[in-house]
């Protein structure tokens, strides 16, 4: 049975982080993520709620998803956010905005990743209600993104999608 708590416990294990966040170059991304996860005191796992999806063919699927750190997105906001995300995805090219979030990185790009310069979908977030919105490029063959690991480091929110819980 997969729950937020069980995934959060697994994330303490470097081997689990290597499976989910590993890659080339001696698993540098997994090592950085694991170090960030270990030193963060405020961290957890939450669930993504898909607001809109676009299929551009040949496995190129992009989503707009919402999340809160402590639970599900409030029902009264969902339909509103879905409509806004759908309209925005129709107006601007989601392919130019979707990001993979394959290791713990600042949710807004932190000024160093290219997604920092693409704030349109993040602007749908409702910070006062704790609701964040992100555009996602799906990793092909792993299905719909559902679980999201988060950790606050030096006041910044870092997130990563856990595709293999």
């Amino acid at each position: 049975m997969t729950t937020r708590a069980s995934i959060a416990a697994k994330l303490d294990d470097f081997a689990f982080q290597k499976v989910n966040f590993g890659g080339f170059l001696m698993n540098k991304r997994a090592k950085n993520s694991h170090a960030l996860w270990t030193r963060a005191s405020e961290k957890g796992v939450t669930e993504l709620t898909i607001l809109a999806s676009r299929d551009f063919g040949e496995g190129n699927v992009y989503d707009v998803a919402a999340f809160t750190l402590d639970g599900n997105v409030p029902e009264h906001l969902l339909s509103e956010l879905r409509t806004e995300a759908d309209r925005l995805a129709d107006r601007i090219n989601l392919r130019e905005h979707g990001y993979v979030y394959t290791c713990l990185e600042p949710w807004d790009g932190g000024g160093s990743i290219w997604i920092s310069k693409k704030p349109e979908f993040r602007a749908l977030s409702r910070p006062d209600e704790g609701v964040y919105v992100i555009p996602i490029q799906r990793l092909s063959g792993l299905g719909e993104p559902r679980w999201l690991a988060w950790a606050r480091d030096a006041g910044k929110l870092n997130i990563a999608i856990v595709y293999k819980p």
């Binding site: 049975m1 669930e47 999806s53 040949e58 599900n72």
Partner: protein, 355 residues
């Protein structure tokens, strides 16, 4: 209003439709004859484009290339010009008719308080068409989004290609999604008339998933459910719902996927009041009846969750309740294999007859 039955809704739709049709006709009359400047511009552009081709054919290819002279040359030159005029006229008329249809649909949508969008090819629709047809072989247009209305639904015109190469066939259907109050095991209802989307797809549910139901329902619909969920299907498909399906949608294909009812109509011209009327009536009836039957459904085989975990859509059904085993249909494969051989057969027959 909340307790309004499908008959009342049907009457309301009819009235609103009539009002919209009258308003539309009135406005068309006020603006003037349809067509006007855009059509003239379109025809002008197309004519100019063809003029270049026609000039090369009539003034160079025919007299120099083919060496035609005198009255024969004149006749062929006239034929080239006439054929061009016919081609340009037909193309312009078809483009204009298509534009007018889209304008009327947009008009209708705003009248009903729906959202209309022309191209939604990149949206994920769900259901058997998405599962069985590659993304490159399907597209969706003319989205009508009425999810915020009293009878929530959205609908697109789906065009998809079945098969490859010479054996490929193209089909157009109008697909409708009606949200249901809870997740329900997958149920496919394929009309035995055989013209619906589920009959056209390359794969069909396996025979062992077929469920025989009482009365003549199984003579009209082929019902398929995942093994072990026959009782759940009977819970949803009560005799009164079966009667409604026989009355309102005997020629339609339907499938329940998670918490959505997918309905497949043939390609409809929704700008025609009678077709729009039938479309809306069927949706209102299906929304009402399926909504009532699925409201309290719970899957006893669903995975048990931690008491602290929040059960979301996606957790309320067991995995095996979501999938229906399918088998490939053999005859489209046979057609695809044999079609390239048709010219060969004709040639052999021709030679045999000539001898």
């Amino acid at each position: 209003m909340a307790g309004m039955g499908p008959r009342c809704r049907e009457a309301e739709h009819r009235d609103r439709l009539q009002a919209l049709t009258v308003a539309r006709h009135g406005r068309a009359g006020a603006v003037g004859a349809p067509g006007g400047a855009p059509t003239v511009l379109l025809l002008g552009g197309l004519s100019l484009a063809y003029l270049g081709i026609a000039a090369a054919v009539a003034l160079y290819l025919l007299p120099v290339g083919f060496g035609l002279q005198g009255s024969v040359l004149l006749a062929t030159q006239s034929a080239v010009l006439l054929a061009g005029a016919l081609l340009v006229g037909t193309t312009a008329a078809r483009i204009r008719r298509h534009q007018r249809r889209q304008a009327v649909l947009a008009d209708l949508a705003s009248g009903f308080g729906w959202t209309y969008r022309v191209d939604v090819g990149d949206r994920m629709w769900g259901g058997s068409v998405d599962e069985q047809i590659d993304r490159g072989n399907r597209t969706s247009t003319d989205l009508i989004d009425a999810r915020d209305t009293e009878v929530p639904f959205d609908s697109v015109e789906r065009t998809f290609v079945v098969g490859d190469g010479e054996g490929a066939t193209m089909h157009t259907v109008r697909a409708v999604r009606i949200p249901l109050p809870s997740e329900v095991p997958r149920i496919a209802l394929r009309s035995r008339r055989g013209a619906g989307a589920l009959s056209l797809l390359p794969r069909r549910p396996r025979g062992r998933t077929e469920l025989r139901l009482e009365g003549n329902f199984s003579d009209v619909f082929e019902v398929s459910v995942p093994p072990g969920y026959e009782t759940s299907a009977l819970y949803v498909l009560t005799p009164d719902l079966m009667a409604v399906l026989l009355d309102t949608s005997a020629d339609l294909d339907l499938e329940v996927v998670d918490s959505t009812l997918h309905v497949y109509f043939p390609a409809l011209d929704l700008t025609r009041p009678e077709e729009l009327g039938r479309f809306l009536t069927a949706i209102a009836v299906l929304h009402d009846r399926f909504g009532r039957r699925t409201l309290l459904y719970r899957d006893e085989h669903a995975e048990s969750l931690d008491p602290e975990a929040v059960r979301r859509a996606g957790d309320t059904l067991a995995h095996r309740a979501r999938e229906l085993e399918t088998r490939a249909r053999w005859w489209p494969v046979l057609v695809a294999v044999l079609t390239p051989l048709v010219p060969l057969v004709i040639a052999v027959a021709w030679i045999a007859l000539a001898d």
